[in-house]
């Protein structure tokens, strides 16, 4: 008896589900321009149909009746719906380069000033993952430059810790003269190669 009732209910539900008035959650997909102006592309596939969206604030809606409508929204419209989610996006991964004096683990005067800006950017992130990679120019042997590049990375790491970034958030590594920014022959003094890259996520 109970089983019959369950079966009847299931049949009723199935009838409703397959009827023409089946309602689905409304859905909305929007391409948002990046800060640098880049406009991306998404491909939305629904009911076997693929549609490409590749314009600023280009949008596709799936309506409760299953119908699909494409449109272009305004920045304000998108903001009104998505502000909570967009505000919770973590900071974009970023990369910075600072330069060093020849043969030393000391920043150039310009880069000492620049460090303040880099620090301000790093500080905006509540929990940064920072990778510091030291490099050298081609003056000197492989071993010497491996040590110098690591010394530069370690020095920069110490400076960031001194400024208040927790040490466990920062990894330091040296690449010696293996990754030249400006390709040169061996034993060439080149200021742009004496550097540390700071990658933050």
């Amino acid at each position: 008896m109970k089983h019959l009732a369950v079966l009847a209910l299931a049949a009723l539900l199935a009838a409703c589900a397959s009827g023409p008035r089946k309602q689905v959650p409304a859905e909305l997909f929007v391409v948002v321009p990046a800060k640098d102006g880049h406009i991306g592309t998404i491909v939305v596939e629904t009911a076997g149909q693929k549609r490409v969206i590749n314009t600023a604030f280009g949008a596709e809606r799936i309506q409760p009746d299953g119908g699909v409508v494409q449109s272009t929204m305004t920045r304000d419209q998108v903001h009104a719906i998505f502000a909570d989610a967009v505000d919770a996006l973590p900071g974009r991964p970023a990369s910075f380069t600072l330069y060093f004096l020849e043969g030393k683990d000391e920043l150039t005067a310009d880069s000492r000033v620049e460090l303040e800006k880099v620090f301000a950017e790093l500080k905006k992130r509540p929990l940064p993952d920072i990778m510091v990679i030291g490099h050298t120019d081609t003056v000197g042997g492989l071993d010497y430059n491996d040590k110098l590049s690591k010394a530069r990375a370690d020095r920069l790491r110490d400076m960031l810790v001194e400024l208040g970034i927790p040490g466990q958030r920062i990894q330091a590594a040296g690449r010696g003269k293996r990754e030249l920014l400006v390709p040169t022959e061996d034993n060439v003094s080149e200021a742009r190669n004496r550097r540390v890259e700071i990658n933050v996520r």
């Binding site: 309602q23 689905v24 959650p25 409304a26 859905e27 909305l28 997909f29 929007v30 391409v31 948002v32 321009p33 990046a34 880049h38 991306g40 592309t41 998404i42 491909v43 939305v44 596939e45 629904t46 009911a47 799936i62 309506q63 409760p64 299953g66 998108v78 719906i81 998505f82 909570d84 989610a85 967009v86 505000d87 919770a88 996006l89 973590p90 900071g91 974009r92 991964p93 992130r125 509540p126 929990l127 993952d129 996520r201």
Partner: protein
């Protein structure tokens, strides 16, 4: 039969090996929970994210995640986002990221795997599958709209 057993064992081992962090909680405001298997815990900033985790937010909740390929994903209030699959090779930048937004709002910025191979990132919703060729986009699944007259 034997073959199947070997395959099952291989899959089980792959499952264990996959239980590494693929991302991190960077932003957590209000009621935010992470469901991993049968356990659910409050999401705290700094917590690791694993493949097959489900992120749930309450009416005052929002959360932001970073992933190892530099993808960013955030959700607004009353949202459920499941990470169905994730893999990323830091050397080749090959990978796949499949997530499901069951309800609520999501904002995302695609990362290195999409740069390497367009549509490596996919977001499923109740009615659609979205392939991401890049870079920034938002998605909403509004259950209540179906109940409105």
């Amino acid at each position: 039969m034997k073959k199947n057993l070997v395959l099952a064992a291989a899959l089980a081992m792959a499952g264990t090996a996959m239980a590494a962090d693929i991302g991190q909680v960077k932003v957590s405001k209000g009621d935010v929970q992470i469901q991993r298997g049968a356990t659910k815990q409050a999401a705290k900033v700094g917590m690791g994210i694993q493949a097959s985790d489900v992120l749930l937010t309450g009416s005052d909740g929002s959360a932001g995640l970073t992933f190892t390929d530099n993808s960013l994903v955030s959700v607004g209030p009353n949202s459920v986002f499941a990470i169905d699959r994730y893999s990323f090779d830091t050397t080749t930048h090959a990978g796949e990221f499949e997530g499901s937004l069951r309800k609520g709002k999501l904002a995302a910025v695609s990362g290195k795997m999409v740069k390497q191979s367009p549509e490596a990132m996919k977001i499923r919703t109740p009615s659609a599958v979205m392939g991401v060729r890049g870079t920034e986009f938002v998605v909403q699944v509004d259950e209540q709209a179906a109940q409105r007259p």
